[in-house]
Symmetry: C2
Subunit: 359 residues, 2 copies
C-alpha cells in the first residue's frame, strides 16, 4: 500500500520554511528521512534545497527508494559523504544545515574536506521537534499499536506466575503482538522480576518468577512505523506493606503528572509534578530518570519530559509518563502510559489498568 504523497511534500515545505536562508538541509536521521519522504530503508541521506529534494542511497536501496519516495530525486552513492558532496556541487550549494546529533565526526571531517567553501551549520535544537506534533494518521497508528500491545499483554498476563522465566514471558508477549498485527516490538521487551525490577533497563533473562516478586513489564508494538510504550508492574503472590506503599506513591506521581498534561504546560512542569511527589516521600533519589518522552517513528523522541525543559506541550504531541522508584538489590516499580496531548488535557492511548494488580 503506497502512502499518499501529499503529507511528505507538506512536511518538506514546513521544514524548508524554517530555514529560508540555508541553501540546503542535510537530513541523516533514518526516521526523519522516512517522515519527509516515505523511504523506509536505511543508510540514506536527504538533501532539501529551496526547490529540489534529493534522496541519496547506496546500490542496495535504489529500487526501494524510487518506489517509496516518488517525491524525491534518487541519487546513488558508493560512499555517502561523496554523494553528498556531489549533490552539493550540482546545486552550487554555499551553506548546509545539518543534524549535528546524527552526523558523525568522521563523516563531518570528510565533508568539510570535500566542500571547503561550504559553510556547515548545525541545525538548532528545535529541529528535533520536527516530528513532535502528530497528524491524525500518525495518531491512529500509535493508537492501533497501543491496542495491539495491550491485547497481547492481557493474554500474556495469565502466564505470569511463580516458576515462569522472564524471557518466556517476553517472547510470548512479542509473539502475540506480532500475531496481532504489529510489525515488530517497539524495543526489546523488558520483563524484570524481583531484584531485576530495580534495574530501570533490565534484559529479560532466565530468572524465574517467585512469590512476592514485583514483575515489571515494559513493552510496546510498532504499526506502520509508529511505536507504543507502556509499563505495567504486577505483584505476584503476597505484597508487603512497603511494596504497596511504594506502588501507591508511584501511581500517584503518574496520575498527577497525567492530570497536569494539556497544551501549553511546559515539559519540565510535568516532570516537576511527578518528581516532587516522590521527593516529598523521600524517594526522589530513587527516581533516576526523566518522567517521559515523545513517541512516534522512534520510541524515544522529542519532547523530553525532564527537569528544566521549557518547551510547551502542544496538542497532537504523544508522550509517555513513566515515573519509577528503584531500590537497588531489592525491587522497583515503574508505571507508564503513552498519552496524546490535547487542548484540554490528554487522552491515554495505552489502556491497561494501572491499579496495583496482585496476581
Amino acid at each position: 500500500m503506497r502512502h499518499d504523497p501529499s503529507p511528505f511534500s507538506n512536511r518538506v515545505g514546513r521544514l524548508r520554511s524554517g530555514f529560508p536562508e540555508t541553501d540546503a538541509l542535510l537530513i541523516l536521521g533514518e526516521k526523519n528521512i522516512r517522515y519527509l519522504t516515505g523511504f523506509t530503508g536505511g543508510d540514506g541521506a536527504l538533501m532539501a534545497g529551496p526547490d529540489w529534494l534529493t534522496l541519496l542511497v547506496d546500490g542496495r536501496y535504489v529500487t526501494q527508494a524510487r518506489a517509496d519516495a516518488p517525491g524525491a530525486e534518487v541519487f546513488e552513492f558508493r560512499k555517502r559523504a561523496d554523494g553528498i558532496a556531489a549533490v552539493a556541487h550540482q546545486h552550487k550549494v554555499g551553506s548546509i544545515g545539518f543534524e549535528s546529533p546524527v552526523l558523525t565526526v568522521s563523516e563531518y571531517l570528510k565533508l568539510k574536506e570535500s566542500l571547503p567553501d561550504v559553510s556547515f551549520q548545525p541545525l538548532p535544537p528545535s529541529f528535533e521537534f520536527l516530528r513532535a506534533v502528530k497528524d491524525e494518521e500518525e495518531i491512529d497508528r500509535i493508537r492501533e499499536a497501543a491496542q495491539i500491545a495491550g491485547k497481547a499483554f492481557a493474554a500474556v498476563r495469565e502466564m505470569i506466575r511463580p516458576g515462569v522465566r522472564e524471557k518466556e514471558i517476553a517472547l510470548d508477549l512479542e509473539y502475540r503482538m506480532r500475531r496481532g498485527g504489529a510489525e515488530q516490538a517497539s524495543f526489546e521487551t523488558i520483563v524484570a522480576a524481583g531484584a531485576n525490577s530495580a534495574l530501570p533497563h533490565a534484559t529479560p533473562g532466565s530468572r524465574t518468577i517467585a512469590d512476592g516478586d514485583f514483575v515489571m513489564i515494559d513493552y510496546g508494538a510498532v504499526c506502520g512505523g509508529y511505536h507504543s510504550d507502556e509499563t505495567c508492574t504486577l505483584l505476584v503472590g503476597s505484597a508487603s506493606e512497603r511494596q504497596r506503599e511504594i506502588y501507591r506513591l508511584v501511581l500517584e506521581a503518574h496520575d498527577r503528572a497525567i492530570g497536569a498534561i494539556r497544551a501549553g504546560v511546559s515539559c519540565g512542569e510535568i516532570d516537576r509534578i511527578a518528581r516532587s511527589h516522590l521527593n516529598e516521600a523521600g524517594l526522589g533519589n530513587l527516581f533516576s530518570h526523566g518522567t517521559g518522552h515523545g513517541v512516534g517513528l522512534e520510541v524515544h523522541e522529542a519532547p523530553r519530559l525532564a527537569a528544566g525543559r521549557e518547551e510547551a506541550l502542544q496538542a497532537g504531541m504523544v508522550v509517555t509518563v513513566e515515573p519509577g522508584v528503584y531500590l537497588p538489590g531489592l525491587w522497583g516499580v515503574r508505571i507508564e502510559d503513552t498519552v496524546l496531548v490535547t487542548d484540554k488535557g490528554c487522552e491515554i492511548l495505552t489502556r491497561t489498568s494501572k491499579e496495583l494488580a496482585v496476581i
Copy 2:
C-alpha cells in the same frame, strides 16, 4: 552467569598498548564497550587511561554497570559530555583518542568547548578491527547462534508454499530461533518473495508466495551477544531456465569466494573473485553490494569484503560471503554463509545446504 573478568582486562590491555602516547581513549560504541568491559547496557562511555578505566553511565544503568563491569570504575553522569569532561579533568588528560565514526558532531563540539586544552585525535581506521579476530569463546557463541538459526530454518521450511505470507514466515522463524535459545534475531528477518527478492534489503510484508517465486530468507540468531547471518533463496514450484542459470552463477560465485578464504588473503581479493565470476556472465552491475562483512557482537563489523579492501584475513575472523544478483522488478538471488577464517581455509558455520532447493 558472570563472565570471567580476565578477557576484559586482556582486551583493554591490547587496546591501550596500541596507543601508548594518548592520555585517554574514549570509547563510545556500545558493542566496543561491551567487548572491553562486559557492560551490556546502553548510552555509556568508556575512558581508558594508562592505568585507569572508567565506565560512564547515566542513572538508569549504575546498578547494572557495577554488576556487569567489575573491572571498571563506574561514574554516573547526567549529560554524557559533561561526564567525559569531568573524568578527563580528574585524570589531567591532555589528549583523547576517540571513535570518530561514532561520536556525533554535537557531542564533539560540546567536548571541545568543555576541554579547550585537550587535543582530540580520531582513532585510526584500523581501530575498527579491535573485535575482528575472535577468541574460542566468541567463536563458540557464533557457532551456537548459527546452529539455532539453522535448526529453526529447517523447521520453518515446510511452511513455505504458495499462499503463505512473507511476514508469517519471518515471524515463525524468529519465534523458533528464540524458543531454541536465541536471545533475539540478529536483525529484522528478511523474507522476500517474487519481485520483493529483487530488493537486497526487503521488509517482510503481506505479499503471499506464488508458484514460480524465489523466496529469499536472510536470517540469523544472537547468542551471548554474538550474531549469525545466513541467506537461503528457495524456489517455490517450477523454476524457469533463467532462474536456474542465475542461481547457479551466484552459487558458483559464493563457492569460489569461500574456496579462496584463508588467513593472509586480502579482503578485496575475496570480493574480486566473487564479482569477477558474475562480471564474466554479464551480471556484475546487478550485484549491487559488497561480498561480505565481519560478524560478531554486531551483525555488520570489520572486516569488509569489498573492492579495494587491502586488509588481510586473519585466522579467527568470522565473515559472511553473500554474493547476490537482483533483477529489478523481477526477482533476485542471494546466497550467504558465515564462515570462520583459519590458517588453511575456512569453516562454514552456517550449515544449511545452499544447493538450489525447489520446493
